[in-house]
């Protein structure tokens, strides 16, 4: 059992958790993730390791509630336990040194991107960041990202905060302005990562994307997380989760991620309409 030490909402549907995991904490590297199960009848889901505290033996996760498991997780508070947390899994992100790079986060992807941004900044990179959200409430970690960046801009789809528009717009301007960006790290919804990759391809700028494939074990045992990269089958959990965005078949992945839409809805409805208590209210 893994104890929740702290919990704090960053946005109406996004919370930060500090969890006791003494074996995982010292091993975390930017780009790693854990697989977790909230309870004994739950699904195993992958969540990025945002941070860790080696002396306290804790890890930090930032979770957005989108379906049953993540919404159930958001109902948990400090003092509660998660039945399983395993990691760190996946390959760490290659961190360039003393280069000019761009870091682009969309939605909860910003949480996954933050440890990478910080590592790049610590490695002497000049970091241009874009924090994208659908609307003002969904912009997370703005201060943290700004602290680790040379330049950082916020974009929202509806213009409720920062620049109105999508993340590729400022990126294009930077690329056109010859800022010298040598690599791009993009994490967010698949259509966003596809758009970024399509753009950077024209400029020949190396682009790392983190693929949120559906996973079961997270250790290379099931093949459920397979993605097509440069025409080859790869397992996102052990070969990734990061890949060269220019090689990824995003269209296929988007369709694959809808595999369980019906089942996901069933369990979510069951969870939200469980008799006795209103889970939704408890969540916010």
């Amino acid at each position: 059992m893994f104890k929740i030490i702290e919990k704090e909402f960053l946005a109406p549907t996004v919370a930060r958790f500090v969890i006791e995991a003494p074996f995982i904490a010292p091993k975390r590297k930017p780009g790693n993730f854990v697989m977790l199960r909230v309870g004994k009848t739950g699904e195993r889901i992958p969540i990025t390791l945002v941070d860790s505290d080696v002396t306290k033996g804790t890890i930090t996760l930032i979770v957005q509630g989108i379906g049953k498991t993540t919404k159930e997780l958001l109902t948990k508070s400090a003092g509660d336990f998660l039945s399983d947390v395993v990691g760190p899994l996946g390959n760490p992100t290659p961190i360039l040194e003393k280069k000019t790079v761009a870091c682009i986060g969309g939605g909860v992807g910003t949480a996954e991107l933050f440890p990478i941004t910080k590592a790049l900044n610590d490695a002497g990179c000049r970091v241009y960041s874009i924090i994208g959200g659908r609307s003002k409430e969904l912009v997370i970690l703005e201060n943290e990202m700004k602290r680790s960046s040379h330049t950082a801009v916020v974009t929202t789809d509806d213009g409720s905060y920062g620049r109105k528009g999508i993340v590729t717009e400022p990126l294009k301007e930077w690329l056109d302005a010859k800022t010298g960006i040598e690599a791009v790290y993009a994490i967010g919804p698949l259509p966003m990562m596809r758009a970024v990759s399509n753009l950077t391809k024209n400029y020949g700028v190396k682009t790392y994307v983190s693929l949120n494939a559906i996973m079961v074990d997270g250790t290379g045992m099931c093949g459920g997380c397979r993605v097509t990269v440069a025409g080859k089958m790869k397992f996102a959990c052990v070969d990734g989760p990061e890949f060269d965005g220019h090689d990824v078949d995003f269209d296929e992945m988007i369709l694959r991620n809808r595999s369980y839409a019906a089942g996901e809805k069933t369990v979510l409805d069951r969870f939200e309409h469980a008799p006795g208590e209103c889970r939704l209210e408890k969540m916010v």
Binding site: G42, S83, G87, D217, G220, M221, C222, G223, M233, G263
Partner: protein, 472 residues
């Protein structure tokens, strides 16, 4: 004592297990075979010829003293019988259920030369179940506590056995398992209708009762490396029993479609994550009206029978060779047939077809015929041109083999591996790195429960020797 003459014994027909009705069981996950009852077991045991040279023992990879245990059954000393088995096999309730007996002990049984062999596996299961039901299991006494901590990696049959044996020698043993539950393939692969989880749970409890400490959710190579187990955790020896869990895919077009599974994923969702109890359990599974499972081994058989149980109208087993070459256990093939599985032999899938929205709507296949023997000695299937046809299925499950997971090999510098990414061991399961031992599917690249157990046991003995040598 069995006072019957040999000729009388030979007249008794082989006794059969009580089984759940095929139609009924093809819709539930309860155990198919209920085993022998006491009367059947006594009758079956009385068939044994009590050979002077009990060759059956040689057919068993761990050399269970079959003759003696069957004699004890004859004397109605069921608990003593299982103790006898346990001298060489710590998991009789499991082996009695899943060993390919027809290729091992029963294959060489003298009685089998002219008649049906003694149902050794069924008797083994009977006494093991008897002991469980009657609660007469006693934890073996550990005589001496020894210096030295040993780490066992992976909780499949090889790891469980190695851990149990080492604990019996008196070592402090810690077992590390990547998943959230213990048992390896016994947990996530072999379905409950062949191996009820209560049996596995009891066996695991017994191993814990020997003092073995278990860490689940702990991936060696990630949470800690093998070298850290020595340097930071203070272990003096490590056994690797991480199995062969990485699934192969055929490499035909259409494998990324929604509805295509590796057997590993399909079975893991159902067995480990309990998707068959969805939505009580959260993990979903996609099952079309018709399902095709590709392969001819135990894994394929488990996949296709599971599909049927989940409600597939048609569940096909598609295999490119013929019936005779199927590596699956005979009993399972037989059970599958009874349950209405449709066998498409000498059939090779060539392409999985999409509905245009990334969903499976069919599988293109080709008929095969058997040609010249290949390197494995089996006749090689060759395609018959113009024999292509489309099987209307919405789910495709590939059970076409697997390889060891490379995480440990990649994070343990200097550890010798083969081209197939198996770990190379010499005699006594010793790898090229001192203090590191390995066995089971990790070194064999896919074998059986009993062979994995044999390796675990051999390795435990070798580790004991290694630690004694070092403490001198």
């Amino acid at each position: 004592m069995n006072t019957m003459k040999a000729s009388e014994r030979m007249k008794i027909p082989r006794q059969h297990s009580i089984e759940q009705n095929a139609e009924k069981r093809s819709h539930n996950f309860e155990e198919v075979s209920l085993g022998l009852d006491e009367v059947l077991a006594l009758t079956e045991a009385s068939r044994c010829l009590e050979c002077k040279d009990p060759i059956c023992m040689e057919g068993c990879p761990v050399n269970v003293d079959i003759k003696s245990f069957v004699q004890l059954v004859n004397e109605k000393k069921f608990v003593d019988a299982v103790k006898k088995i346990r001298e060489s096999n710590f998991l009789p309730a499991i082996c009695g259920r899943v060993c390919p007996q027809e290729e091992q002990c029963e294959n060489v049984c003298t009685l089998g030369k002219k008649h049906d062999p003694v149902a050794i596996g069924k008797l083994e299961r009977f006494v093991a179940d008897y002991e469980m039901k009657s609660g007469q299991f006693t934890i073996p006494q550990i005589e001496t506590k020894r210096e030295g901590k040993v780490a066992v990696v992976g909780s499949g049959p090889s790891g469980l056995t190695c851990a149990a044996e080492l604990a019996k020698y008196g070592y402090a043993v810690t077992l590390f398992e990547a998943l959230h539950e213990v048992g390896g393939v016994l947990r996530y692969g072999i379905p409950e209708f062949r191996l009820p989880r209560t049996i596995l749970d009891i066996e695991v409890e017994r191993i814990q009762a020997l003092g073995v400490k278990i860490y689940t959710n702990f991936v060696i190579g990630r949470t800690a490396t093998v070298d850290e187990l020595f340097k930071e955790w203070g272990f003096s020896a490590v056994f690797l029993g991480t199995g062969a869990g990485t699934p192969h895919f055929m490499g035909i077009p259409g494998e990324s479609l929604n509805g295509v599974y590796s057997a590993n994923e399909f079975l893991t969702r159902v067995n480990l994550m309990k998707a068959y109890k969805f939505p009580e359990y959260d993990t979903p599974i996609r099952l079309g009206k018709n399902v095709a499972v590709i392969g001819g081994g135990n894994t394929a058989m488990d996949g296709v029978r599971t599909s049927k149980r989940l409600g597939a109208e048609k569940a096909y087993l598609v295999y490119r060779r013929s019936r005779a070459e199927m590596p699956a256990r005979l009993e399972e093939v037989h059970h599958a047939e009874e349950e209405g599985i449709e066998f498409l032999m000498l059939t090779n899938p060539t392409k999985i077809l999409s509905d245009g929205n990334n969903n499976v709507v069919g599988m293109e296949c080709q008929k095969m015929e058997l040609g010249e023997p290949d390197a494995s000695g089996r006749r090689k299937p060759v395609p018959i041109s113009g024999s292509e046809f489309v099987l209307e299925v919405q789910t495709v499950i590939e059970a076409v083999g697997q390889a060891p997971n490379p995480i440990i090999q990649a994070t343990t510098p200097g550890l010798e591996t083969s081209k197939r990414s198996t770990v190379v061991v010499g005699e006594k399961q010793q790898t090229n790195r001192p203090g590191i031992f390995a066995g089971g599917d990790l070194t064999r690249g896919g074998a059986t429960v009993i062979l994995a157990m044999r390796d675990g046991k051999e390795a435990a003995a070798a580790i004991h020797g290694y630690l004694l040598e070092r403490s001198k």
